[in-house]
Symmetry: C2
Subunit: 227 residues, 2 copies
């Protein structure tokens, strides 16, 4: 299968790692490396070699047995797979702390994405310029939306659903929400939540799991000693 056709049912973790491989390949290319083995790529990205081979196998054969992958070739293929050749435009709803920090930090040129517009419902914010992009009123939203737009919601708590509906009405089909309240996306719209709270929960759970394993291990050692 060529990379022109996309297989269905690729697990999210595979796509997530492809994104990471692209980043590692770019760095390998900057270091002047022309080929990379799955083992090297795995080590650079902090994943297992079998994950690398398994992830790439969804999309066909990219390397020659024994000689590894071409850095530039594999990077180009992954960029095609991820849709980064003609990347979607990115717009931001909300010119508060998070929205401002995002637009001011910018997106890596190498990733291909670019912030194209920022919107806010607060008239006091409309017209100010953030990293050279003027904040527009929500009434201008639909002109900036289409099915190739990814929108980032970073509005006040409680205003997420309203923002999502305005985006869907404007024709946007892909949304990242920094608002953590649960939103009801209309059918067909892909919605992802991105909040530090969820990541904190995942790490808090991992701290607890580690402690549980350690205390289990301690009990096992103790029971062996006392047998």
């Amino acid at each position: 299968m060529g990379v022109g056709m996309l297989p269905v049912n690729v697990p999210e973790k595979t796509v997530r790692r492809l994104s990471q491989y692209a980043r590692c390949l770019r760095q390998a290319s900057l270091r002047g490396e022309s080929t990379v083995t799955s083992r090297e790529l795995a080590r650079n990205c902090g994943v297992s070699s079998s994950s690398v081979r398994n992830d790439l196998s969804y999309y066909g054969e990219f390397g020659k047995q024994g000689s590894g992958y071409s850095v530039s070739g594999l990077l180009a293929n992954i960029k095609t797979i991820l849709g980064k050749i003609n990347p979607p435009g990115v717009i931001v709803l909300g010119a508060g702390h998070i929205g401002t920090a995002l637009v001011e930090s910018g997106l890596s040129d190498a990733d291909g994405y670019e912030y194209q517009a920022i919107f806010d419902s607060n008239p006091a914010r409309v017209g100010i310029s953030i990293a050279g992009i003027k904040v527009q009123p929500l009434s201008e939203l639909s002109a900036a939306c289409d099915e190739n737009t990814i929108a980032v919601i970073a509005v006040s708590p409680g205003k997420g659903q309203e923002a999502l509906e305005a985006l869907a009405e404007g024709g946007c089909q892909a949304v990242i929400s920094f608002n953590l309240e649960p939103l009801n996306p209309p059918e067909g719209l892909s919605l992802r939540y991105m909040g530090v709270s969820t990541e904190l929960d995942l790490l808090s759970h991992s701290i607890r799991s580690k402690k549980a394993r350690r205390s289990h291990h301690d009990r096992m050692e103790l029971s062996q000693l006392t047998q």
Copy 2:
């Protein structure tokens, strides 16, 4: 199995959804609801009922057949599972745009987490106050770290590994990196990357997949029409 003991090998997506269920249960509680069925919880969180039942089954029986779950009881159990009863403290490395936006936005009280300290290596930033928290020099880091700390890395590009090593040396075992360059965590340290670029890649891939499915569907319809 009680929630005191944690099962091993719980999939990340289950923990991620538990975090979401906690958020939905809190909202149900604010609406004055005292019980909730798995179907209602699923609808509120935008997941399937079988996901809810499957996720909770890792931790034992929480509801009575037919009568659903107690909102406050299930919330308390999930908070215990996630380690939110005595939640880890959160510290931030980097008082640039992202670090400042995080600390200024704060964390929801209901989540239990709290930003406790913020650090920066830039002497010009040390001493300024962000949301009432004074920026400290990196030399003070180890006093703020222990195995119950979650650290957020939001330092300049290229400085992530250095920050990670300082954290590990200070005894921190759980890190969220907003720096997207690949970092090499020492053994035992849990590291998560959080960047809008990865989420953009996931959505860009989903836009491409949707188009591929649509064009496949169109071709199938055409071939049926022309048969």
